[in-house]
């Protein structure tokens, strides 16, 4: 081959690259070892943008506009949701604050001890007649009887 013909060939390749690229893309695959298991894609497997645009009919456009509208509504809904969360947080904070104040104000160690003591005593309080007759005086039993009658009257009434 002569030098001039080689030059021409190179020139034509440089300035008409597309003419040779298709050939090259169909004939060789530089990523043969890593992609498509050696198979060369010779056809356009992706849908073109024009085809997708054609499929977007006026009916679909209406649906899309509705979708966009609903998305814009989501914003207001999300905002309302956030506001409700903030309100909920404030309520929780207020409730916790009240509880904390109540804990500090209303309950003292003495009252807790008294309540536990009362529960503890009531657990072991017996009304067994023999035990009562042995451990209580007549006056104490009289007081107990009056209290029991009052309790009974309150329920039976």
């Amino acid at each position: 081959m002569e030098i001039s013909s080689v030059r021409e060939n190179i020139k034509s390749r440089l300035f008409n690259s597309t003419k040779y690229e298709t050939v090259v893309s169909n004939k060789s695959n530089p990523f043969k070892q890593t992609s498509f298991k050696g198979n060369v894609l010779s056809a356009d497997v992706f849908e073109s943008a024009t085809k997708a645009a054609k499929e977007c009919a006026p009916k679909n456009k209406l649906t899309m506009s509705a979708l966009v509208g609903s998305i814009s509504n989501f914003g207001s809904k999300i905002q309302a949701g956030i506001e409700s969360i903030v309100a909920f947080g404030n309520r929780m904070k207020e409730g916790f604050s009240n509880t904390w104040n109540m804990l500090n104000k209303d309950i003292s160690l003495t009252e807790v001890r008294s309540a536990i003591s009362t529960r503890w005593n009531s657990m072991f309080e017996t009304t067994n007649p023999k035990v009562l007759a042995k451990n209580k005086t007549v006056d104490e039993l009289g007081t107990m009887l009056n209290d029991a009658i009052a309790d009974y009257s309150a329920i039976a009434a």
């Binding site: 009304t127 067994n128 007649p129 023999k130 009562l132 007759a133 209580k136 005086t137 007549v138 006056d139 039993l141 009289g142 107990m144 009887l145 009056n146 029991a148 009658i149 309790d151 009974y152 009257s153 329920i155 039976a156």
Partner: protein, 124 residues
């Protein structure tokens, strides 16, 4: 257990404790609080407890007193007291008090009741 049943059991236990108490003043306590109560259940329990005590003073309360024990206006209270008298193992003291009441200076209604109960006890 329902609340009313709990309260009734507690009442009964306290009255039983007074009937078991060795202190003689327990009779006066039962008479003062129990037999004068406006609640039938309390009067019934107290009358039976006084009979179970089986002492002269306790039996006099339920036999010789008008409006108490066998003379109570409530039929349930009167019949329960009579039933408890009939259930006594040792009826000697009860028979003595009944005889004293029949022969004593008490109202006719009380005498009649004592006579009837005495007859019942003699038959039992």
């Amino acid at each position: 257990m329902r609340e009313i049943e709990k309260k009734t059991k507690k009442l009964n236990n306290i009255i039983d404790a007074l009937s078991l108490h060795e202190d003689p003043s327990s009779i006066a306590m039962l008479e003062e609080i129990g037999t004068n109560s406006s609640i039938d259940v309390v009067r019934e329990m107290t009358s039976r407890a006084l009979v179970r005590k089986n002492m002269e003073d306790s039996l006099k309360v339920v036999i010789s007193n008008k409006g108490k024990g066998i003379n109570d206006l409530s039929t349930v209270v009167a019949m329960s007291t009579i039933n408890e008298l009939l259930s006594l193992e040792n009826k000697d003291m009860a028979m003595k008090i009944l005889s004293d009441t029949v022969e004593g200076e008490v109202e006719d209604d009380v005498k009649d009741n004592a006579r009837s109960v005495k007859a019942l006890m003699a038959l039992s």
